[in-house]
């Protein structure tokens, strides 16, 4: 059977070799039926390859294994054993008798312990995956050898990464980036929520430790000194949701309305008008929003112009000035923020709606007109359902984006809006804060990482639940299969 396989037999054999499709089934077969070298691959990752004379691969796997071991011995052991306490040695300055100088002792840095432990766990998790995948691979090699099939040379192996395994080449770097700057930060965020990491417990000078669910209890209305946190959370959450609903729907319908006006065949200079609207959103938000905030400042130009106008009309006496608290009093600020957001958001939505409207099913509209439908009927029964269907998913993501709309709130109110509500002030929140801006202030100005993390988790849960519910709705519109 060995070297004398014909090409048709070859194909059957190759088919036999293709894995069952279930990773753990393959793994089980590899462990039970693998020879000594396959089993040895658990300890020496290169063993299976060395046995089948794939020496480059053997060396590469051995080097990788050495790197993981070196990482563990030289780096991870300093931090991972302390994860249970997050460090016990407080930083102190001690007098060193030998050098006759005051030096820092060999202290524990709780945050480094947390960060590097998480990193170690991620590395080890990846290493375990590599070992398991490796087992399956070397067992495949064993089978190939047993069946007398061709075993790839190093060059051929490399070329698979430009062919069948091209996705590995493409995805490895982007995934690494996501793991480093997205996944690991998320793990840390979640873990910090269970510690007492705040201004009184700031590494390196102080330690922080695990406190279980204390922060969650405090946030959701636990008693004692932190009573205000529960109150603030409820206030901020309500405003966040109110804001998200208003911000999403005002801009959405505003955008559709505007694009309907501009798309009307009888509208002159439509392109010019559209371009002028686009100019307003092309200016970076930190410029336009900071400008608008000064426009509506208490002693800003809008109040100034109102004063001049009112004086000229004789509504107010000469010399008095109007000082409407556009962005500085609760109520006023809430309404103004939503209005200013309309200014920012409607042109965006107009762009999207224009794109959708130009793709309207013309034949349906024609036939409805022939059937004698009026313009408003056509709009209500054909245009609107179509637009809703196409932009529905975008509406969902817009809502989530608005829950986390940091820029508008922060740039309009930071350093300008101060709350007079003592309970809110105690927990560093204001009436106009969204959960994310509150979180940002807690970390940037007050170093209250523990509560910020809890709020972060709460925001995630809100967004996730909302998206999941909406996802079911979106599922029917999933068109991916049509193309694949």
């Amino acid at each position: 059977m060995k070297a004398a396989t014909t090409s048709s037999e070859h194909i059957t054999l190759e088919r036999d070799l293709t894995s069952s499709g279930r990773f753990f089934t393959d793994l089980g077969t590899a462990i039970t039926k693998g020879d000594l070298f396959v089993k040895l691959s658990i300890l020496w990752w290169g063993a299976g390859y060395a046995r089948r004379k794939q020496f480059f691969k053997a060396i590469a796997m051995t080097l990788l294994e050495a790197a993981v071991i070196w990482f563990t011995v030289a780096f991870a052991v300093q931090y991972v054993p302390k994860i249970g306490t997050l460090g016990t040695v407080q930083a102190e300055q001690v007098f060193n008798m030998e050098t006759m100088k005051t030096e820092w002792n060999d202290y524990d840095d709780s945050f480094q312990i947390l960060l590097f432990s998480v990193l170690s766990f991620v590395v080890w998790f990846a290493a375990v995956l590599v070992v398991l995948k490796n087992l399956v691979n070397v067992y495949q090699l064993q089978r190939r050898e047993e069946l007398g099939l061709h075993i790839n040379t190093f060059k051929e192996d490399v070329s698979t990464y430009l062919n069948e395994k091209f996705h590995v080449t493409l995805l490895s770097l982007p995934v690494l980036g996501v793991v480093m700057f997205n996944v690991i930060p998320l793990f840390i965020l979640i873990l910090v929520a269970f510690t007492n990491y705040d201004q009184q417990h700031m590494p390196p000078t102080a330690l922080f430790t695990w406190t279980g669910l204390t922060n969650f209890i405090n946030l959701f209305g636990g008693g004692g000194l932190t009573l205000t946190f529960g109150y603030s959370f409820a206030r901020v959450l309500v405003w966040t949701l109110v804001w998200a609903v208003f911000a999403t729907f005002t801009t959405y319908f505003g955008g559709i309305l505007l694009s309907l006006f501009l798309n009307n065949k009888r509208t002159k200079f439509a392109k010019l008008w559209r371009a002028l609207f686009i100019v307003t959103i092309a200016v970076p938000q930190f410029v336009s929003l900071l400008l608008v905030r000064n426009f509506f400042a208490d002693n800003g130009i809008f109040n100034g112009m109102l004063t001049s106008a009112a004086t000229a009309l004789g509504i107010i006496a000469e010399g008095t000035t109007l000082n409407f608290p556009w962005l500085t009093a609760p109520g006023w600020a809430h309404v103004m923020i939503i209005i200013i957001n309309i200014w920012i958001g409607v042109p965006y939505q107009m762009l999207i709606a224009t794109g959708v409207l130009t793709n309207l099913p013309v034949d349906q509209i024609e036939s409805s007109r022939i059937d004698g439908a009026s313009t408003s009927q056509t709009f209500r029964y054909i245009t609107m359902p179509y637009v809703l269907f196409v932009t529905g998913p975008a509406l969902v993501t817009d809502f989530v984006k608005n829950i986390n709309n940091f820029n508008v709130i922060y740039l309009l109110t930071q350093d300008v809006y101060t709350t007079t509500n003592q309970a809110l002030a105690n927990s560093q929140a204001t009436e106009v804060d969204l959960l994310v801006t509150w979180l940002f202030r807690l970390t940037q100005d007050y170093y209250n990482y523990k509560m910020a993390s809890v709020i972060g988790i709460a925001v995630f849960i809100i967004c996730a639940v909302f998206t999941l519910v909406a996802f079911n709705f979106m599922l029917s519109g999933d068109k991916e299969g049509v193309y694949n």
């Binding site: 480094q112 960060l115 070329s159 430009l162 069948e164 091209f166 493409l170 995805l171 770097l173 982007p174 980036g177 996501v178 480093m180 700057f181 997205n182 996944v183 690991i184 930060p185 840390i188 965020l189 505007l258 006006f261 009307n264 009888r266 509208t267 008008w273 609207f277 686009i278 970076p284 938000q285 410029v287 336009s288 900071l290 400008l291 608008v292 000064n294 426009f295 130009i301 100034g304 001049s308 042109p347 999207i352 224009t354 794109g355 959708v356 793709n359 196409v390 998913p393 975008a394 989530v400 940091f406 350093d415 994310v436 940002f440 993390s453 972060g456 925001v459 995630f460 068109k479 694949n484």
Partner: protein
Amino acid sequence: MEKKPINTKQLVKDIFRHVFIVLMVAVWLVPIVWLVVTSFSAYDGRDMTNFFPKEWSLIQYQKLFTPDTVANFPAWFMNTFKVACACCVISTLFTLMVAYATSFCDFKSRKPLMNLAVILNLFPGVLSMIAVYFILKALGLTNTHLGLVLVYSAASGLGYLIAKGFFDTVPRALCEAAKLDGASQARTFISVIIPLSKPIIVYTIISSFLVPWMDFVYAKMIMNSGISDMWTVSIGLYNMLDKSLINTYFSQFCAGGVLVSIPISILFVIMQKFYVEGITGGAVKG
């Protein structure tokens, strides 16, 4: 039907619509006009009573290009430009790579990976910012431009969906043909798909280039040392409006705002065409 004489009802409607549009445009442009006219004001601080400056001058632009201890606009502009270029290259590559892999390659972990990306995208960036900051600190990259580039572009693979939506509409027969001609996957990607994807590549390039110009939060957090020469445009301009500085720098802020807005507006106008296509394209064509 078309040749009907214009009735008065229609005419009134038309007039009303045009008046409405012009009014809206006027309201929408007020802040922009204010930005431009204030940048040409001779007065440094905020003018409370006059919309148009009393005295016109180019002095704010002149001041903007003579750096002082607070404001160093030329340096900020160059910093942002450098960061934006680096970011643009990395983000574009990552986005296209992930989009190609998820659209054209068939592998077992494709669906699970895409679902994971959906979940990860639910965590807004602001939330993990604290941890990102500490990771950069551990790597010694806070207050460096490399740190900023990493923050803007390292996780950019997650924003692959628009490009994937575009790739999904490319006919599969093209890839089959390339495969029959003996082209490898890599070759198909580079010589067949990339040349076909100019619109989405332009969109990706411009949108990733714009990120550092538009971002404010990350820059503020990472460049926190107070050395103004290292700042990007956004933190620099924000700082000009500090309570203690606003009365001497407000008009300069406007001048800076105008200068930043011009190139960005141009890029944005080019991009918006693709933006609409990207958001709605997949669904519409379905």
